[in-house]
């Protein structure tokens, strides 16, 4: 991931949400696709909907959200999630 670039939700996706427990569904009006998202993905999207964050800053935000100290598994999950969300066109990289 390029230093100096941050992640943000792509506003053009215009997501519509349904939530049941830890299951989250996002309808992307642009693509017409419905995405089934887990807790981390939904949380990442929620944060990136209002902030532009580098991967490191996003990790810090997630640690704070879940009130945990360093967590390698969470970091791996965030990296994987960013890759998937990027591939789905739900987030984009912009200058942070």
């Amino acid at each position: 991931m390029t230093q100096g670039l941050g992640w943000t939700a792509d506003p053009a996706a215009a997501l519509e949400w349904q939530h049941w427990g830890e299951a989250h569904f996002a309808f992307d009006a642009r693509s017409g696709q419905t995405h089934f998202l887990n807790e981390i993905a939904a949380a990442v999207l929620a944060v990136l909907a209002t902030h532009t964050l580098t991967q490191a800053a996003l990790y810090e935000a997630m640690l704070a959200r879940y009130e945990v100290d360093d967590d390698t598994q969470l970091l791996t999950g965030i990296v994987d999630t960013l890759r998937v969300l990027d591939r789905l066109g739900l987030i984009q990289r912009v200058a942070s």
Partner: protein, 308 residues
């Protein structure tokens, strides 16, 4: 229900109307059928007597024409053809399969055109305005269960298409002949001897099919919407006791989207309405083999949900 039903027309008058084009009301849809061949009027006379004629000049949601056959085609026993409104042949079939092909043609028109509704591939039955939706893949037993239930005090909304119109989640009835396939025909004939069937039509793409005619009360109530209370995913399993398993909301929503004919087309609207539907109902998977036991289970479950 007001207006004239087909049974109020004499056979001669029905034949004349068919030749000129006749419009039937089936739930919220108008089906216009045209064909001078007497086999068409015979078919409508026998199997659609309780359907009302639509008002003259009604917009037709589906238009079917039974193409005339030259004498040489009849002599050679060539297939009949039904054309849709574009005039192109939609389906070829032997004479004895006319009823099945009329029904399938009408279904095709509705499934491809009626996008003012969220259309679920689900049977729907109701008691006192409270509906149970039964989505399922072909073979899950939707039609067989529906055929049984409507002879045990339930109202038929549809054995195939559940129509959801608006955010209030009103379910619009679309009562039609119920096509039973293969073993299900004998199952229902044995369980419900008074059930009125059309002929057995062998060799269709779904095997042998026989159509069960819903009683007058179901057609007369077809303009009364129902409220969804339960979603039950049925699975017929030979020899199984009737079992119910609660379905989490997320799983229910996923399965509803998979069983929605026009989900991709309606997009956000379908997403919102199926989400609202999921929040409005309780959902279960039901495994069954005995129809009476399944009916008892559904009745008990619905009563409990209504009481809440």
């Amino acid at each position: 229900m007001s207006g004239t039903t087909l049974r109020q027309l004499s056979r001669a008058a029905l034949g004349a109307r068919c030749a000129a084009g006749l419009s039937l009301q089936a739930g919220p849809f108008v089906l216009r059928i045209q064909g001078a061949d007497p086999v068409l009027a015979d078919c409508l006379h026998a199997y659609y007597p309780n359907y009302p004629l639509a008002a003259e000049g009604s917009f037709a949601d589906a238009q079917l024409t039974l193409k005339p056959q030259a004498w040489v085609d009849r002599w050679r026993d060539r297939p009949r053809q039904i054309c849709l409104e574009d005039g192109l042949a939609f389906t070829d079939f032997p004479l004895e399969a006319l009823l099945a092909n009329l029904e399938w043609s009408f279904n095709w028109c509705v499934a491809t055109h009626a996008n003012q509704y969220v259309m679920l591939h689900a049977a729907g039955v109701a008691k006192q305005g409270h509906a149970v939706l039964m989505p399922g893949v072909p073979g899950a037993g939707k039609s067989t269960l529906s055929a049984y239930l409507i002879h045990r005090g339930w109202r038929l909304l549809s054995d195939e298409f559940t129509l959801v119109r608006n955010q209030a989640l009103d379910l619009h009835a679309f009562p039609r002949l119920i096509p039973l396939k293969n073993d299900a025909i004998d199952v229902i004939q044995n369980a419900v001897p008074q059930a009125q069937f059309g002929p057995r039509i062998p060799g269709t793409r779904k095997g042998t099919v026989a159509h069960l005619r819903p009683g007058d009360e179901h057609i007369q109530a077809m303009h009364e919407p129902a409220r969804p209370r339960l979603v039950v995913f049925p699975t017929y399993e030979r020899g199984s006791a009737t079992t119910l398993t609660a379905v989490p909301a997320a799983e229910c929503f996923t399965d509803l989207t998979h069983n929605c004919f026009n989900y991709a087309l309606l997009g956000r609207q379908a997403f919102q309405m199926l989400g609202a539907l999921t929040n409005h109902v309780e959902a279960f998977r039901m495994r069954y083999s005995e129809l009476a036991s399944a009916e008892d289970t559904l009745s008990t479950l619905l009563a409990r949900v209504i009481e809440k």
